[in-house]
């Protein structure tokens, strides 16, 4: 039986969470199919990082070369294509991250193997690969069937597999790098850190997240007022930043900050996955949204289906009352 492969994602000398999630997923699949999980590690000066995940997979293939110091989809693609062609795994997992989004479809295309992206789950049923994906703004899930092929490629969504401990001792296999330099046509230059604003939403105990549902920029004042009553800071989802109502450093989500406050209150946020990944680990989540079908209610501990402008003034009063007691 062919193996399960996954690609380790790391950045700035750290293994990214998605890698552990994928390894959790990969191990479970391997177990079911009675096969092994191979983690492929492309990196530079990698010993320490490789060592840190040694208990996560059955085998770690390491390609240690300076070219892999930073992520470059093109270099990664060349190397991975070589490995997959040679090893012919049943399934290769890549993270559906900025990294994987660049890599996965191109790799699948190059190899001519069936692939799909942004999966919440993969299962093998009767020898056939079935993936679960989200569609239509998170309102529906889809089960996806693949064209039959000995090898498949799938990118996995962040945050879908709670990481589990493992105590395997991986076999380390070092491989000569098929590439020695970044291609001319695509070169990594540098990282750009987000500008730091006056409020650090990652440090706050109480975060009030606002989304499209606040309708108007002027309504932000109302939210600010509420947040200060409750002793929190205001964060937001992507559309609010795109509309330039709040600065980028207030954005919670996959491309923004990840926050884990004691209390996260969402106001008019529908709960697109991109936002949810940035706040799902908050202590208590209270969601206020008019749309009872909004995906945010799948994440919240407490939900109120109502107009936020109707609830907010009353909520503020109750908090004030509570504080005065």
């Amino acid at each position: 039986m062919s193996e399960i492969f996954m690609l380790i994602e790391h950045r700035q000398d750290a293994i990214r969470d998605i890698s552990y999630e994928m390894m959790t997923c990969g191990r479970a699949l391997a177990e079911k199919l009675n096969t092994k999980l191979t983690a492929v590690f492309l990196g530079y000066d990698a010993d320490k990082l490789v060592e840190s995940i040694r208990n996560q997979a059955h085998r770690i293939m390491v390609v240690d070369n300076e070219v892999f110091k930073e992520f470059n989809a093109e270099s990664y693609q060349i190397a991975l294509a070589e490995i997959i062609k040679k090893e012919n795994p049943l399934l290769t997992l890549i993270g559906h991250t900025a990294f994987g989004m660049d890599l996965c479809p191109a790799l699948g295309t190059q190899l001519g193997i069936p692939f799909t992206t942004d999966c919440l789950d993969v299962e093998i049923i009767d020898g056939k690969l079935i993936a679960t994906r989200q569609m239509y703004d998170g309102k529906l899930n889809a089960k996806i069937r693949f064209r039959e092929n000995p090898s498949y490629l799938v990118s996995l969504r962040t945050g879908c597999f709670p990481v589990r401990d493992s105590n395997i001792e991986a076999e380390i296999v070092n491989i000569e790098s098929p590439v020695s330099a970044e291609p001319d046509y695509r070169k990594f230059v540098e990282y750009i850190e987000a500008a730091i604003g006056d409020v650090d939403i990652t440090k706050a105990d109480v975060v009030v997240g606002v989304g499209r549902g606040i309708k108007k920029k002027e309504n932000l004042a109302l939210v600010e007022d509420f947040a200060s009553t409750i002793g929190g800071v205001v964060a937001c989802s992507r559309p609010i930043v795109d509309a330039e109502w709040l600065p980028k450093d207030r954005q919670v989500g996959s491309s923004g900050k990840t926050v884990k406050p004691k209390l996260y209150i969402t106001l008019g946020i529908s709960g697109a996955f991109q936002h949810v990944v940035g706040m799902k680990n908050s202590g208590t989540i209270i969601a206020i949204n008019k749309d009872p079908n909004a995906p945010i209610f799948n994440e919240a501990d407490y939900g109120i289906v109502d107009d936020l402008f109707r609830v907010l003034p009353a909520f503020k009063n109750s908090i004030l009352e509570m504080k005065s007691k």
Partner: protein
């Protein structure tokens, strides 16, 4: 600079009720509003900005049924010069891969320096067509682009990574970029341009031009279903005053503030 922009007409589902059709594989579409995919509007705008800077032409391509002509015409009114519609009705079932193959079949005969697509379509949410298409055409690509500057056929591109981080990379043209929302402010169409666009022909490409035989489908939707609730939310009901009381109680009890 000749630019190709791939756009898609999608149902607007963010605030609408989405229902599954009887086949279980599609949604009920007749009560939904359709519009150009959000990130595609940014892609189109980025193309127009580049054209304003460097001259050249913009070709918009969409794979869709005749309704997509409206979307293409909007693109023409906003600054595209030529519009091509690949007749979806000619090609049966579609997935991201097949879509990319169709696009590449059309694009391979067109001169271009840059291809733009949106970074994600809000309906099927693959985020895969751009990179697939680039691979099929044999050009480099970058996804989730938040800034582009072109100096002498080298593009300096910012990609959005996680956690507020961005990376700056250099890519030779011709290349493909998938554009993230917020990269620019999409423009309105002027009435003059609308009038001009109204008279323009939309070039149709169908099975006569592209052979169906070589097209491969990677995936198929087996079934659609409403996502299971991951976490059991407690819905609090009542008047605003009542729910607020209850919430405040929870907050106090748990010592959240």
């Amino acid at each position: 600079m000749d630019i190709i922009v791939c756009i898609k007409r999608v149902p607007q589902t963010a605030e609408a009720k989405v229902e599954i059709e009887s086949s279980g594989k599609d949604i009920v579409k007749d009560r939904l509003t359709f519009d150009i995919n959000e990130s595609d509007t940014y892609a189109l705008e980025e193309a127009v900005l580049l054209k304003e800077k460097f001259g050249g032409t913009i070709t918009v391509i969409s794979l869709g049924c005749s309704d997509a002509d409206d979307t293409l015409r909007i693109a023409l009114a906003k600054g595209a010069d030529t519009a091509i519609r690949i007749k979806a009705e000619d090609f049966d079932e579609l997935d991201g891969y097949k879509t990319a193959q169709l696009l590449s079949a059309v694009i391979k005969d067109i001169h271009f320096d840059v291809i733009f697509t949106g970074c994600i379509a809000t309906d099927d949410a693959y985020s895969q067509i751009g990179a697939t298409l680039a691979e099929l055409l044999g050009i480099p690509h970058a996804t989730l682009v938040t800034n582009i500057e072109v100096i002498d056929s080298i593009s300096h591109v910012h990609r959005e990574l996680e956690g507020g981080l961005q990376e700056h990379i250099e890519i030779f043209l011709p290349a493909l970029f998938t554009i993230q929302t917020g990269i620019n402010v999409p423009r309105y169409a002027s009435l003059i341009a609308i009038k001009r666009a109204a008279g323009k022909e939309i070039k149709l490409v169908g099975q006569n031009e592209i052979s169906k035989d070589q097209l491969l489908l990677n995936t198929q939707i087996e079934e659609l279903f409403i996502p299971p609730v991951a976490k059991q939310v407690k819905i609090i009901t009542g008047s605003p005053g009542e729910v607020s009381e209850e919430l405040a109680g929870i907050i106090r009890e748990k010592g959240l503030i």
